[in-house]
């Protein structure tokens, strides 16, 4: 059996295990279902590793059901194609699922097998989406990921906000997916194929009216942009991330959001690169990414619901990722992948830690938790490390990726924006850490107009905060974030994988049987002195901001400016209303804005 042949098993294995769990779950008991789930996740990780290793030399192309393309380059079948990045993301998804299973060892006691089956199906959806080389297949796995995600989000049915958040998540994502299907249909009507490489090949060889290509791209990308939470498609994310069980949040922020951006980049580089006006694409994704980064950072700072805070920080960071991908430069995309990967592991660990707090103290509110976790020393260290890593503290991988992005883009405003986002989001995280773990600052009386954030805990027991099931996964994740910065082989491999994404032609040719070796690695990320200095400065700034915030964020500066900032903050909060109608209206408008920006470019 070659890697090519077993590639589909990355999807089939977790799916099959999910079905087995449903069949035997009633009788098998809690322990059995834990073990079987972990087994499937570990096996999928192993397969993913094998695929990544193979794909880092040459793309692994697996035409399914024996229908490989004929001499005319057309095929009736569909394919999975793993390049280093796709296989890498698939591996990340499986590995994070392993950790989520370990972390959630005692979750949902009464419906354990259902929870585990949903988790495995979610994994299967992510694997399929990451590896698929077929547009319609991408839609199917997008929906599979979605359906499992909605169910997982609402699984705490006793929680009022969980069911509402899940509904917003489900409707907005499904709507985006249907628009994507519309775009896929437009491409099919024009080309008469569904496989990414074949569409890419054909679309480049024929003249196409710009308005048609534009609509096809906007619609197809719509669903992926929703998943990636690019403004103004991002509203659902905070609602869903704030309410899902903690291990599921770690998967959402750690892989699912990144997969959305991956989907946009995949269809752009394989199909639309060179067909769509490049300037328009750059403009659109830069503007939307920058807006998302700023909005996410401002919203993040204003939260006292810890998970919501982390969720908005994810929106801010993915916005940075989007505007980097927009440049289309191989080095910058490589840097962005390193940055987002390091962000993913750190953010996942933060979600797990916050979930631990929720289970222990029955609260997720920054002020209600004030000084309550003082005794949990190891967790406090891990939490503050996570916050500092977000701020860009060397030698965490985030700082390395950030520095590499800045070096390869060399645009001052991007550097400034990245710095700002790091400082504000990390400042918010550190602020909560200082308050909750160290009891720093004033025990602020809750404002009268704002009730404390409420959430039902994930489990009925109150697990201790130095429990190995909590600290183990957290340590692994933070360690991975650190190693990404320290081990040159790791950072080099990740950057090379990201850079390979840009090579759409290579992707097409590999699928049609003319494999080219993986592109030679261009510049590799190294610690430049200025990166280290910038990282230290942003960390210090974030720390200062956190201290200022923990002490009650007393206004400094001229009255007029602070009033204006407060007004903007209130306006933004009002826009994130939790109202389904608002979110769908923004989605429609987002499609329009995207179209207009693409046209303007």
């Amino acid at each position: 059996m070659t890697v090519r042949q077993v590639l589909p098993l990355t999807v089939a294995m977790p799916l099959g295990m999910a079905a087995v769990l449903v069949a035997i779950g009633h009788h098998a008991g809690r322990r059995m279902s834990d073990v079987l789930t972990l087994l499937a996740a570990v096996a999928t990780t192993a397969l993913g590793c094998a695929a990544t290793l193979a794909a880092s030399h040459q793309r692994v192309v697996s035409w399914l059901a024996g229908w490989s393309p004929g001499h005319d380059g057309r095929s009736v079948g569909l394919l999975l194609e793993a390049d280093a990045l796709g296989a890498g993301i698939a591996t990340l998804a499986a590995a994070l699922t392993c950790l989520a299973v370990v972390y959630g060892w005692r979750y949902f006691d009464e419906i354990a097998w259902q929870y585990h089956a949903l988790l495995l199906v979610f994994l299967a959806g992510m694997e399929g989406f990451a590896l698929s080389g077929d547009l319609f297949d991408m839609f199917v796995f997008f929906e599979l990921m979605g359906v499992a995600g909605y169910a997982l989000t609402a699984l705490k049915i006793e929680d009022r906000s969980a069911v509402q958040g899940s509904l917003n998540f489900a409707v907005v994502n499904s709507l985006g997916a249907y628009f994507s299907l519309g775009g896929i249909a437009l491409l099919y009507a024009d080309i008469g194929a569904l496989q990414l490489p074949i569409i890419g090949q054909e679309l480049r060889t024929r003249p196409n009216p710009t308005s048609f290509v534009l609509a096809a791209f906007v619609l197809t990308a719509c669903g992926f942009l929703v998943k990636a939470a690019i403004a103004p498609f991002h509203f659902w994310l905070a609602d869903a991330h704030a309410v899902a069980p903690a291990p599921v949040c770690a998967l959402f922020s750690g892989v699912m959001v990144e997969l959305g951006l991956y989907g946009v980049a995949r269809i752009y580089f394989v199909i639309f690169d060179g067909v769509l006006p490049g300037a328009g694409f750059r403009l659109a994704l830069t503007v939307l990414g920058a807006v998302g980064a700023v909005v996410g950072a401002l919203m993040c700072w204003q939260q006292r619901h810890l998970k919501r805070l982390l969720a908005y920080s994810t929106i801010a960071h993915i916005g940075i990722g989007a505007l980097t991908v927009a440049t289309g430069s191989a080095a910058a995309v490589g840097g962005a992948v390193l940055y987002l990967l390091a962000h993913a592991v750190v953010k996942a660990s933060l979600f797990l830690m916050v979930g631990g707090l929720l289970n222990r103290y029955r609260s997720i509110d920054e002020i209600a938790l004030f000084a309550r976790a003082r005794a949990a020393r190891p967790l406090a260290v891990a939490y503050l490390c996570g916050g500092a890593a977000l701020a860009g503290l060397p030698p965490f991988g985030l700082a390395l990726g950030k520095g590499f992005v800045e070096a390869s883009l060399d645009t001052p405003w991007v550097t400034l924006l990245v710095g700002l986002v790091s400082v504000v989001t990390a400042g918010a995280v550190l602020r909560t850490g200082l308050r909750v773990f160290l009891g720093l600052g004033a025990r602020e009386p809750a404002e009268a107009d704002e009730p404390p954030a409420k959430e039902q805990p994930d489990v009925q027991r109150r697990p201790a905060l130095d429990h190995i099931g909590l600290l183990g996964p957290v340590a692994v994740l933070l360690g991975a974030g650190l190693l990404l910065g320290i081990l040159p082989t790791w950072s080099r491999a990740v950057t090379a994988a990201g850079a390979g994404m840009v090579d759409g032609i290579g992707y097409v040719q590999a699928a049609l049987g003319n494999p080219t070796p993986a592109p030679s690695i261009g510049p590799v990320p190294i610690w430049r002195p200025e990166d280290v200095i910038v990282g230290l400065v942003t960390t210090a700034a974030a720390m200062a901001l956190a201290l200022w915030g923990a002490r009650g964020a007393r206004a400094v500066g001229p009255r007029r400016i602070t009033d204006a900032v407060a007004w903007v903050g209130r306006g933004l909060r009002a826009a994130h209303s939790g109202h389904l109608g608002d979110y769908v209206a923004w989605l429609l408008a987002g499609v329009g804005v995207l179209g207009v920006l693409l046209r303007l470019g």
């Binding site: 319609f136 199917v140 929906e143 979605g146 359906v147 909605y150 169910a151 609402a154 049915i157 006793e158 929680d159 009022r160 906000s161 069911v163 509402q164 958040g165 899940s166 509904l167 917003n168 489900a170 409707v171 499904s174 709507l175 249907y178 628009f179 299907l181 519309g182 249909a185 099919y188 009507a189 569904l194 905070a238 609602d239 704030a242 309410v243 919203m299 204003q302 939260q303 909060r573 009002a574 994130h576 209303s577 939790g578 109202h579 389904l580 109608g581 769908v584 209206a585 989605l587 429609l588």
Partner: protein, 118 residues
């Protein structure tokens, strides 16, 4: 009939947009879910219209005479079938969530659901 050559596409687009607007409009989550399925219906019409060929027959092969008349595109029909299954599943799940929303909030009016502001 030449002028009618793009008509089905516009029907599809109309259904997709109307469904989305209906969600914005909804004062009831069940209604929003129904509107979502209307949007999805737009994609069925779009797909089938793309695969249609005039004077062609349904894509079922006879035992012998498979080449006498052209068939309409079976691929879009298979895609639409998948889409319908997706629709059934998503709708079922959404309804289940809506039932739980009604249980927890005692209402399904989006204007009155207010646990997720800001």
């Amino acid at each position: 009939m030449r002028s009618m050559a793009y008509f089905p596409y516009f029907v599809a687009g109309w259904l997709m947009v109307m469904g989305a607007v209906g969600i914005v409009w909804s004062r009831n989550l069940v209604r929003a879910i129904v509107c979502l399925s209307v949007t999805q219906s737009g994609t069925y019409v779009l797909l089938l219209a793309i695969g249609y060929q005039r004077h062609a027959v349904a894509p079922i092969l006879g035992a012998q005479d498979e080449n006498t008349r052209p068939l309409v595109d079976p691929v879009v029909q298979a895609m639409t079938l998948t889409d319908i299954v997706v629709s059934a599943g998503v709708t079922a799940l959404l309804l289940a969530i809506a039932v739980q929303v009604a249980r927890r909030h005692r209402t399904t009016d989006p204007d009155q659901l207010s646990t997720l502001t800001g």
